[in-house]
């Protein structure tokens, strides 16, 4: 059962027509209720909320793929950029009263700028040490957000503006935030296109060389420092943009967005979907967003007193690494020892 499904998903990557159909289905799903075809809404606000969250995590997973997938640097601090983007855009709109467009771009730029010094340790520190450094950076960010007054402390900042981004369907839409779904979709597609084009470019080959053997790559005249920083900054930029969309969609931001649990989730989305696989990133993000929601439903049906998701998630990771360490849609030889 699982195998044909996987093959189908793999085929999607190579057939633009299928991708276009999928996008059309997503858009139809989003806007069918705006047409007022039926009395009741066909898809509830909840379903659209899940769709938006999945798309945002797709963007984040794709952006983390630059660091973890292409250059092979395991980062456990990606949520720091995600949250930073959210906070930057929250503060620019609420404190400086700048329009959302400015805040959106600014959030990406600031995240990228911060990604530069945070990426710098990665030039000297490798493997397991880099994991804990990125993790530590993320935690420090969280403590700063909790302790500063300007970021609203542990409670966060409520009441952020949720612009319609010029999409006028919102007055008849279900959540009034369809524009965010479209924006997230566009962002994900842009990123997916960049990654698709990157694979066979000069930069893509340099990334691959560094990932496979850094010393050999350096001896061939590739500057590992330059490309590693590039991957970090690029990943941070898009994570920041995604964070901005997320914060304004929720119209609320809290330090939870920066938490290490978020970072762990993002890394596992990359690994479960398959590193460097574009459909894999989408699959990982959708799977790990929808499954916990589904299990919450299961919990209510069976009247369980606990949420089974996290236990199953831990078990899933262990089993997955035994059975298919390269991820669901990853290439066979993803990791080197």
């Amino acid at each position: 059962m699982a195998k044909p499904a996987l093959q189908f998903a793999q085929n999607l990557a190579h057939k633009p027509a299928t991708a276009i159909i999928l996008i059309a289905v997503l858009l139809g799903f989003t806007f069918i209720d705006s047409l007022d075809l039926t009395e009741e809404y066909i898809f509830g606000a909840y379903a659209k909320h899940i769709l938006f969250i999945s798309l945002i995590y797709s963007v984040v997973t794709l952006s983390l793929n630059f660091v973890t997938g292409y250059v092979g640097q395991t980062s456990l601090g990606h949520a720091a950029f995600f949250g930073l983007g959210g906070y930057v855009s929250a503060l620019t709109t609420s404190l400086l009263h700048l329009p959302y467009g400015v805040a959106f771009i600014l959030s990406g730029l600031v995240a990228a700028l911060v990604g530069l010094p945070l990426g710098a340790p990665a030039l000297r520190i490798k493997g397991p040490f880099l994991v804990v450094v990125t993790y530590g950076c993320g935690e420090v960010f969280k403590f700063i957000a909790i302790n500063l007054d300007i970021t609203g402390g542990p409670a966060g900042l409520p009441g952020l503006i949720s612009p319609t981004l010029g999409i006028a369907f919102s007055d008849i839409g279900v959540t009034g935030k369809e524009a965010f779904i479209v924006a997230a979709l566009i962002l994900a597609l842009v990123l997916a296109f960049i990654m698709y084009r990157l694979e066979d470019s000069r930069v893509g080959h340099a990334f691959a060389a560094i990932r496979q053997d850094e010393i050999a790559a350096a001896s061939m005249g590739i500057n590992p420092a330059y490309y590693k920083l590039m991957a970090f900054v690029f990943g941070a930029f898009f994570a920041g943009l995604a964070g901005s969309l997320f914060a304004h969609y929720m119209s609320f931001i809290s330090p939870d967005m920066l938490s290490s649990n978020e970072s762990i989730m993002m890394l596992t989305m990359v690994v479960i979907g398959g590193a460097r696989s574009i459909p894999g990133a989408f699959l990982g993000a959708f799977l790990l967003t929808i499954t916990p929601e589904f299990l919450r439903f299961v919990k209510d049906v069976f009247g369980l007193s606990y949420d089974p998701w996290l236990v199953l998630f831990g078990l899933l990771l262990v089993v997955m690494m035994r059975v298919k360490p390269q991820g669901l849609l990853g290439a066979e030889t993803v990791f080197r020892r």
């Binding site: 530590g136 302790n147 236990v311 831990g314 080197r336």
Partner: protein, 292 residues
């Protein structure tokens, strides 16, 4: 100031115990043992459960907790890590992450997520000293925890430097392959390593439980602080971890008075990052060479 140092020493000893548990596994297997915090939590709960159900004294609880800590660490190695030992490093790390999430949340289901405190097992008295104009208060619990930590460390030092197995472990932390060529059974050695690591974690769990409240999620922060201490002391170095543990305990307590208690938990990470950027070998570590 002196008061903060005294408070810090008891906590620092516990950090050192956790850090040594991290560092022996990293030194030999080269794995960030993300589950070590969970072993620590299991130890704390094992101690709590025997004390509340069988009303045993503290030292019995300590031994029981060390046994269960060792057992859990061994089981994790046997079931999760060993099949992947020759596999890719990232897969091994994700397995550790998954096992940690699994154990933590399973514990929250079995033992309920709320925090609880150890019942008072013995009379804890508070001593006060007049030193010039300052008054120092020392809890006997703190002294006892510090003493237990010292005894465990002395025992560990004896084990590492005086027994055949310990010497093999020390050698393996420098070059596992060479040790296996010298006729040491690597599987056996790694099993012993995880037992030692788990027992240290379990002991630390009980010692923390006596001082503070315990809950199933306590392993996350403790495990990471252990890692920070291990890095500061120099990864793979046991004596380094001892010194760094005491240092972090003291620094944390001092920073609470001089900076802000809100940043208390962040101190460990800042120290760790600074260590890795400025002096990656830590206080007493040796260099992990890049192999071509």
């Amino acid at each position: 100031m002196l008061q903060q140092i005294i408070n810090g020493l008891a906590l620092g000893g516990v950090y050192a115990l956790i850090a040594i548990g991290w560092t022996v596994v990293f030194g030999i297997v080269g794995l960030i043992n993300w589950t070590h915090g969970e072993v620590f939590m299991i130890g704390a709960f094992a101690g709590y459960l025997v004390i509340t159900t069988y009303h045993v004294n503290f030292f019995v609880a300590l031994v029981v907790a060390m046994f269960f800590g060792g057992l859990v660490a061994y089981l994790i190695e046997r079931l999760a890590y060993r099949p992947l030992r020759t596999g890719p490093k990232l897969a091994l790390f994700i397995t550790a992450l998954g096992a940690s999430i699994f154990i933590r949340n399973l514990a929250a289901i079995i033992w309920e997520p709320q925090s609880r405190a150890y019942p008072a097992t013995f009379e804890a008295s508070v001593m006060t000293w007049q030193l010039g104009s300052t008054v120092l208060t020392i809890n006997t619990l703190q002294i006892m925890i510090f003493a237990v930590t010292l005894v465990i460390m002395a025992f560990l030092q004896w084990f590492i430097t005086r027994t055949m197995m310990g010497k093999a472990m020390l050698a393996a932390s420098q070059d596992l392959e060479a040790v296996s060529l010298m006729g040491v059974d690597v599987n056996h050695l790694i099993t012993i390593t995880f037992w030692v690591s788990g027992m240290l974690g379990g002991a630390a769990g009980v010692l923390v439980g006596v001082l503070y409240a315990i809950d199933p999620m306590m392993g996350a922060m403790a495990g990471l602080k252990g890692w920070a201490v291990a890095v500061l002391g120099g990864v793979g170095s046991i004596s380094g971890a001892m010194v760094a543990g005491l240092l972090l305990g003291v620094i944390e307590n001092i920073s609470t008075t001089f900076i802000s208690s809100g940043y208390r938990d962040a101190i460990a990470f800042v120290i760790m990052i600074a260590t890795l950027v400025i002096k990656p070998t830590g206080l007493m570590g040796f260099k992990f060479e890049d192999k071509v």
